[in-house]
Symmetry: C3
Subunit: 480 residues, 3 copies
Amino acid sequence: MARRLELHPDRLFPADPTTRRIARDLYSGVADAPIVSPHGHTDAGWFAGNQPWTDATSLLLAPDHYLYRMLYSQGIALDALAIPDKGGVPATDPRAAWALFAANYHLFRGTPSRLWLDHVFAEVFGFDVALEPSSADLYFDTIAEKLATDAFRPRALFDRFRIDFLATTEGAQDDLGAHHRIRESGWNGRVVTTYRPDGVVDVEHEAFVPAMTRFAELTGEDVYDWRGYLAAHRKRRADFRAAGATATDHGHPTAATANLSTAECETLFAKVTRGDWTPADAELFRAQMLTEMAGMSAEDGMVMQIHPGSFRNHNAGLFASHGRDKGADIPTRTDYVHALKPLLDRHGNSTDLSIILFTLDESTYARELAPLAGHYPCLKLGPSWWFHDSPEGMRRFREATTETAGFYNTVGFNDDTRAFLSIPARHDVARRVDCGFLAQLVVEHRIADWEAADLAHELTSGLVRRAYRIDQPSPLAAAA
Amino acid sequence: MARRLELHPDRLFPADPTTRRIARDLYSGVADAPIVSPHGHTDAGWFAGNQPWTDATSLLLAPDHYLYRMLYSQGIALDALAIPDKGGVPATDPRAAWALFAANYHLFRGTPSRLWLDHVFAEVFGFDVALEPSSADLYFDTIAEKLATDAFRPRALFDRFRIDFLATTEGAQDDLGAHHRIRESGWNGRVVTTYRPDGVVDVEHEAFVPAMTRFAELTGEDVYDWRGYLAAHRKRRADFRAAGATATDHGHPTAATANLSTAECETLFAKVTRGDWTPADAELFRAQMLTEMAGMSAEDGMVMQIHPGSFRNHNAGLFASHGRDKGADIPTRTDYVHALKPLLDRHGNSTDLSIILFTLDESTYARELAPLAGHYPCLKLGPSWWFHDSPEGMRRFREATTETAGFYNTVGFNDDTRAFLSIPARHDVARRVDCGFLAQLVVEHRIADWEAADLAHELTSGLVRRAYRIDQPSPLAAAA
Amino acid sequence: MARRLELHPDRLFPADPTTRRIARDLYSGVADAPIVSPHGHTDAGWFAGNQPWTDATSLLLAPDHYLYRMLYSQGIALDALAIPDKGGVPATDPRAAWALFAANYHLFRGTPSRLWLDHVFAEVFGFDVALEPSSADLYFDTIAEKLATDAFRPRALFDRFRIDFLATTEGAQDDLGAHHRIRESGWNGRVVTTYRPDGVVDVEHEAFVPAMTRFAELTGEDVYDWRGYLAAHRKRRADFRAAGATATDHGHPTAATANLSTAECETLFAKVTRGDWTPADAELFRAQMLTEMAGMSAEDGMVMQIHPGSFRNHNAGLFASHGRDKGADIPTRTDYVHALKPLLDRHGNSTDLSIILFTLDESTYARELAPLAGHYPCLKLGPSWWFHDSPEGMRRFREATTETAGFYNTVGFNDDTRAFLSIPARHDVARRVDCGFLAQLVVEHRIADWEAADLAHELTSGLVRRAYRIDQPSPLAAAA
């Protein structure tokens, strides 16, 4: 018989009883606050179509690279987990894949995936037994049954999760059809897009050429001319704003920026777009485009997010067989101080521009990012990201950044997930960890209790709403 | 009505009651120990002239880049804070600037500035209400009144703060007039200087040429000849020792050192002094000069401090409008292992030489600095510096260095401040955090209680006195 | 009279009483588990000859660079500690050296050496007074007396320490005579070797040429021909496996790997072996050899350990006078993401290959190593190493790696020591710190208590046995 599954009400709070009591009080004030999710990768089509999901494997396991990367690291073949390769979804029985996952669920002990999944199992699906081999079928069957009900369709869960704002991410070459269908449906859930132009900026991406073709079609611009290319970005940014976007996002290998003259830009652009480039050219072009995007953000008010430092598709064999995004992205050492200077030399003292910086290199928190954000008016710090979106990661983020940048140069939490059902779990973890950190400051008499309560609300709601400008009058609202 | 301001007697001690009790006991043994401040940036002129300060804004806000960098980061103009630009002090009402600061005091929650200021407000000025908009005028008026009294003149506060030793920092081109006036006045406060030759070593500094001119005038040497230049350093080091200095200080962009032949030095020196240099030449010259200074320290016994790794004046726009030291210095990744090798190859096994290393790159604590200091007889570790001079920063320093370098290769606390009134606050924070760390070791049975008590005294008094050689017979004492 | 020496039963457990109680319970389940020591540097000759050791200085002080590096850093001459230089052991009275050590024992407060030594003093030798000047002679005499008894001979201590498996490390040019003598003696202690080919791989090592000569003699291969050289490695790997080895070890300056063609390998090999190489050639050759060794490990099943990132013999003066391994090795910043890619491109998805990665650069734990090990099936994380083999170092290792790599991509503890008597102390520290970390997870409701108990056994026994394949049928067992 399977062991009990129970979410302890004090989970993630500090062990010391006094600190825990303070943390619990702080948490009680924000536990039920609506969710604001300004950065993530859910599929807008879910909310446009509102079709039911089908089974545990395809909903919870197959799309979640956090899960299958760990299983793969222990020698389990991706095929056996029903992970699609370049030929499509393998002919693996979803129930068998789920059973294999259940048999290896112990691998996740101590990881945030385990915390998130147990929350999904207990809170979303109502399980009171733990996932293990003996309960794998119960899980698989129960989940399938529930998913077939209206209460588990995307929009119903969106409401049940009390999501106030949810941003997805689309490329510059996306027609935003799903977002348009959401609007046209009359549904009032606030699901908006984010402008992510990497596909038409990164000439090293294998799909750069078709992305540029689509970019041209959608804008009617001569995107192989530097001025036309910039004009196309401006048009698409306006399209995205009209679809509710308040932000852009940029996922580059490094944080490099550049500040070239127009003539230099034209020469570089001609070189990279005719395919005659070196890796250094490609990097310089991405660098210049960050500065161009910052300039456009200063014009149109879109908040700019920079997510650098991931070595994508590190596993050559797996990339060949399975393609991108298969859990083989590895962080690298990242410089910000020298990298951002060209952009900052041009736009750094703007109070219209807002740039949110992320990192996968925690050694930059106290050394570079907090000092930069604690000085430049245009810079703020995104929350601990990806591999660091975890209790220890969040704690290290607060400990390393608060003393130099304060709380007010941070922007609340991002769930950054494609695992829609885990969104409440992830926000819950962040709220608990933040309240634990604040409780520590209170018990050490570094801030007063009333300040901690105020900060708990800021970290949950205030900072994110202001940083992502989600309550500012938008073109969408103006048009409504 | 403003909220109460109260410094809790247990502030900064660990939450666990047993650990806290041990920390409190350890702290009680060192809380009142005299202050030894071997490295800082107070103005020797204050103690020479002993003139009263005038108001809260010009004393506490305008000179403190920790404060206005945070306010600037949130979009507040420096003009509105009465921060001088290249044209001088702006015509901003000091009271209005103070009110703006008070209205934004919440930005400092969780920062060391907040801890230091509350200590200054409560302990130095006797406030029992917190700084907030409603109390801004009360603060401004009360501070002005108190500053007008004799009890708040520099020397009176020096005595009240129980300062036993205070080092300022002057350039090689400084005539040490203020220090001479202190001596001549017959006042017995021990305020000494520190030899900081960066102005005549860093050819990239915009004031290098006038500094060299003054250097020549003060020494009578041909400072554009390599031998004359070295002789001038020797003369000025002797001048500084005569004014009580026990140490030198070197603030370079990197920790690079070099070990060139005399012929190579002459060639390089000729190149950099005639203005015909590349950035690499400038860097190599600074590198060579660290090794030269180490050689002179081995001769004359002055303790050498190396403070590398700050990217100075990162904000180009602000540097153009406001000049240096406006809160825009950003730490960079710093290498020590390769950088220091040339110097160590020449002087590393000297037991006469003492070099104190600092860093803004905490990733070097356990990886490079503790292993270096735990081996080389000439190397010791300076305390956590600048952005890391904070409760979390100090805790990380001890956790990362103690296991490899021990306590005895560290040198006690530096306040490193130009904010004179905050000196007791800063030493108090350091003593509390160190006692908390020691209490943790005791409660985990890693050291005995009597050892912790001994170490608390060492960290407060013993190590700093020995490391900075402040009780060794000095030329000053010998002449007296 | 000397103070009491007492090992507190709760040492190293967290301060919070609830957490401590959980840690104590977890520890009680693993405290007496047999020791598995898969990586270390004890002398196989001790177990072959089983001769008694003689005195405290030559057994405990002179071979332990952790100890004399700290003393040297405080200005104590190595001669006075009886540390051998290139001329041999200095004519220092061992008793006087021991007294000098005792007089400076306070330098080790807060270091792991202190914890290990006190354990050795109390548990191995039965002292109940602390080491200090007044007890130095008592220590010296008592230790000498005990060492003269049969109960303190190497094999008796091996049994008393309940060591189940002990790996030493030998070079490719070693004839494994001591290991053969152990087997021939009929003693049933499982002491095995590890294949460390650095001496015939690192052309920058001063003894490369004689090592190659011996390598040729032992294998009968033409080791100056690329194919012969590889064949010689295969022969020696077989020899080592026959002597019980389950693993290889590679201590390179960096983690660089390469993936050259056979023709490129031949050209490079010819260049480096005829002495006509640049440092870049030497580095490329080491890099290629890691990939070759990985290929052989995939063939023969030997687990591959990579220990990169130490700048060996940093102190030029000391290297000249005293030679290698005198406490002057300093860690450097280490890259894994780019460095390992060539090897991983060739072998990364093998499930036969197992590579255990170590680091001296803790900034790579969360940024590079945990993400790599949490994806690649062939990669696992070695425990916190060398300077980080300490309570804080182990805690940082778990905090930084667990959330991304989990526990199951780690391999238990390595004592990595030449200080045989400290082996139980080191394993005890590791078990206590791991149980404290697990207790923290339990008290924060991140794992259940039964999971923690299971993990405590895994971290003590299960993971190390599987990772080092010590229970797999070996050629040795097959031959028996």
